[in-house]
Amino acid sequence: MSQTAKQVEAGAAGHGAEPRGKRTDAGEATYLVAIAEAIWEEMERDERVYLLGEDIGVYGGAFKVTEGFIERFGTERVMDTPICEETIMGMAVGSAMEGMRPIAEVQYADFIANGFDELVNVAGKYHYRSGVPLPMVVRGPSGGGVRASSFHSQNPEPWFAHTPGLKVLCPAFPSDAKGLLKSAIRDDNPTIFFEHKWIYRRIKEIVPEELDFTVPIGSANVRREGSDISIVTYGAMVHKALDAAAELEHKGVSVEVVDLRTITPLDTETILRSIEKTSRALVLYESHRFLGVGAEVAATIAEDAFQHLDAPVMRLAPPNVPVPFSPALEDAFLPDVADIEQAVDRLAAW
């Protein structure tokens, strides 16, 4: 491991109170560091922003995203809570009603199900029912590929994307994570921010340092231009898709990769523009295939880009089974580069 990489690993593990200090000398930040920076900067900017969650304070968070925060911002703004997600969500909702801007952490995104009622029935509908905005963010590490089994590897984004009134974000790159999280904190709507834990320390890049750098919610990004096939995806699958696209280029297939970044509101315009260009769509996602995020994307393409299609819209996603613990089974469960190449081949050969 290079010296730079070592520094990042050490930094990402959470040493030192200044998130900025965790960047490499070249200015690169991992996804995890970028998220920590976003929270830090927004807390410096707006004192209504505060954190609550399990082990986020003294311990610094299960993944050490908030290490050093309690020393800087104090126990009133970095609150360790009981192990009860319903309470965490309830406190977030209540304080947001009163004008605070809470950022609630769930230790693993899977545990968000315990606070489901507060999010779906209260947070998502509160502004609609009472006209009072709920400027709150719930963030949590989602996704598989890290051998964490069925309670610690899920992708809950479809549960909330299905709920009107909630915004759901799933960034794939450090800059997008930072910019989107800052946008979410500044947004007056309840927003669910899923941090893919496979990306945390694996992906790093130069991340803007301007305090007002944000990425707009609801805008997808064409990560790679191509002309033959569009892969529409998000989260960790973006990286798999980019790897596959690089491989496929050697075979003469030009793949465009669209990174959704935001699940709701969905940027249908960018998706459709890509399909108009390539006429072939592979929708790749890590939530379960049945009624997963990609199911909606595929339906949108079929409905609104029908006359641009040269082949059926194809989905590639894990089957409807719990995320397996066995490494061999988890590998089989998650789409990988070879699966993507095969799907693209099938689509190309249609």
Binding site: D228, I229, L248, K251, G252, V253, S254, S279, R280, A302, F306, Q307, H308, L309, D310, A311, P312, M314, Q342, V344, D345, R346, A348, A349, W350
Partner: protein, 499 residues
């Protein structure tokens, strides 16, 4: 009883036109007796009867173009009352002029050669079973027989599947999909194919499909106000357009080509393109769109060869039964140089360069209504007399439309000889998939400097169009110089003596 079917004349030929029936219904015919004449992209030829008996029924009228394998006639014993009863029962093919949409049930032609998928060659091979197509009505091919107006020629099991984007592009750009060759799996027409057709104006990319109809060959994208003529219901395209099922909406901009029939002024004459003409058009256009053509010229002193020919030509004609021309000399010299410069004899196939151990020389022969390029196979193994015989034989049979299909493809290099008509120098189009073509023009006396004196010598300009994707200028020039050296310095007498 024997069924007469449209023969497969050459592996890439997909359809043929019945030009003339040489027997009438009810006439007796013997085995191998010429039964009808056909015209295809590759050759025009007579087809012999597959059986002895009586020509009981003709199923495809003269002038009709049908896919390979289509049943054309029945030769039987004559006992089944040829003529009346049967022909009452079975609707005849309408006369060509009325037949555009009346296509009888045509048996499936052998699947067209399936081109590699447009997006990566490994795709088709790795995944043989495409997923079901919920959005695309497969049934298009099923009821094609009844929906004559929408029928596509059967160029592959999936050629009738028209994806939404294919339909839309065809409609917007007025592309007649019946004339577009599908390169997708199973012959499916892909978006890429339609875009290609839009660019080249409906001319099939390889000219193999006889489907381009000449007066329509104007680029569809041009869409200029002067109405480009649309072919009248043409004998050569018995399939009606599939680009028209969608009724044009009234607010569509009137930029597309009108569907009106040919309108000719009083001082003009409409002449539908022949099969041959259309094939030439397709091939020529495809070549110019494929090759990065460059051109090089050298001048050759032919004095020795002219004198030799003058000296031996009468004896040669008496011995061989045909005239000795300059073509065998040029061919012989070129063959030898090609063995030395294999790149000039190579073919660019996909991302690979195909090098050959032999020279199969294409010889351009002018025939009625066009030209054809028969091939002297393994010409590098022949001496001057052998080449003279082979060239004369092919040229004679080309003019008599007697060539066999496999005699008109597979060339590795070609020579054209417009000098016979007086041209001094030409810029020929490369005969695809060759990488170069040599032009041999008129030999004439010119004053030249020989040993610091001005002399009168027989000279000729020898030039070559070559594909810069494969060959570079230095090689092209070295190659031509080598041909020139051979022509100027070889001991041709010796070659002639070994006839």
């Amino acid at each position: 009883m024997a069924n007469v079917v449209m023969p497969q004349l050459g592996e890439t030929v997909l359809e043929g036109t019945v030009v003339r029936w040489l027997k009438q219904e009810g006439e007796r015919i013997t085995l191998d007796e010429p039964l009808f004449e056909i015209s295809t992209d590759k050759v025009d030829t007579e087809v012999p009867s597959p059986a002895e008996g009586v020509l009981e029924r003709i199923l495809v009228a003269e002038g009709q173009t049908v896919p390979v394998g289509t049943e054309l006639a029945i030769v039987g014993t004559g006992e089944s009352a040829a003529g009346e009863a049967l022909s009452e029962e079975v609707p005849r093919m309408a006369a060509p002029a009325e037949s555009a949409t009346e296509v009888p049930a045509i048996p499936a032609a052998p699947a067209a050669p399936v081109a590699s998928a447009p997006l990566g060659t490994s795709a088709a091979a790795e995944v043989p079973t495409p997923p079901p197509a919920p959005a695309v009505p497969e049934s298009v091919s099923d009821d094609a027989g009844t929906e004559a107006g929408e029928r596509l020629p059967d160029r592959g099991p999936r050629s009738a599947i028209l994806s939404p984007v294919v339909r839309r592009l065809a409609r917007e750009h007025d592309v007649d999909l019946a004339r577009v060759r599908g390169t997708g799996p199973g012959g499916r027409i892909t978006r890429h194919d339609v875009e290609g057709a839009i660019v080249v104006g409906n001319v099939p990319p390889d000219g193999e499909s006889a489907a381009l109809s000449a007066p329509e060959a104007a680029p569809a994208i041009a869409a200029e106000p002067p109405p480009v003529a649309q072919a009248p219901p043409s004998a050569v395209t018995p399939v009606a357009s599939v680009s028209t099922p969608a009724a044009p909406s009234s607010n569509e901009p009137a930029v597309t080509r009108p569907e009106a029939p040919v309108v000719a002024n009083e001082d003009e004459e409409v002449q539908p393109l022949s099969h041959l003409r259309r094939a030439i058009a397709g091939h020529m256009l495809q070549s110019t769109q494929t090759a990065a053509r460059a051109w090089t010229l050298v001048e050759v002193d032919m004095e020795r060869i002219v004198r030799l020919r003058e000296r031996v030509k009468e004896a040669f004609a008496a011995r061989e039964g045909f005239k000795l021309t300059y073509m065998p000399f040029v061919t012989r010299a070129t063959n030898e140089a090609l063995l030395e410069f294999p790149m000039v004899n190579a073919e660019l196939r996909g991302q690979d360069l195909i090098l050959r151990r032999h020279v199969h020389m294409g010889i351009a022969v002018s025939i009625d209504g066009g030209l054809i390029v028969p091939v002297v196979r393994n010409g590098d193994e022949m001496n001057l007399v052998g080449l003279a015989r082979a060239i004369d034989d092919l040229a004679t049979r080309a003019r008599g439309k007697q060539l066999q299909p496999d005699e008109v493809h597979g060339s590795t290099f070609s020579i054209t000889n417009p000098g016979a008509y007086g041209s001094l120098s030409s810029l020929p189009i490369i005969n695809q998939p060759n990488s170069a073509i040599l032009s041999f023009d008129a030999i004439e006396k010119r004053p030249v400097v020989v040993d610091d004196a001005i002399a009168i010598r027989h000279r000729v300009y020898l030039s070559m169009s070559w594909d810069h994707r494969v060959i570079d200028g230095a090689m092209a020039t070295l190659f031509l110089t080598r041909v020139k050296e051979h022509l100027e310095t070889w001991d041709w007498d010796e070659d002639l003596d070994h006839g």
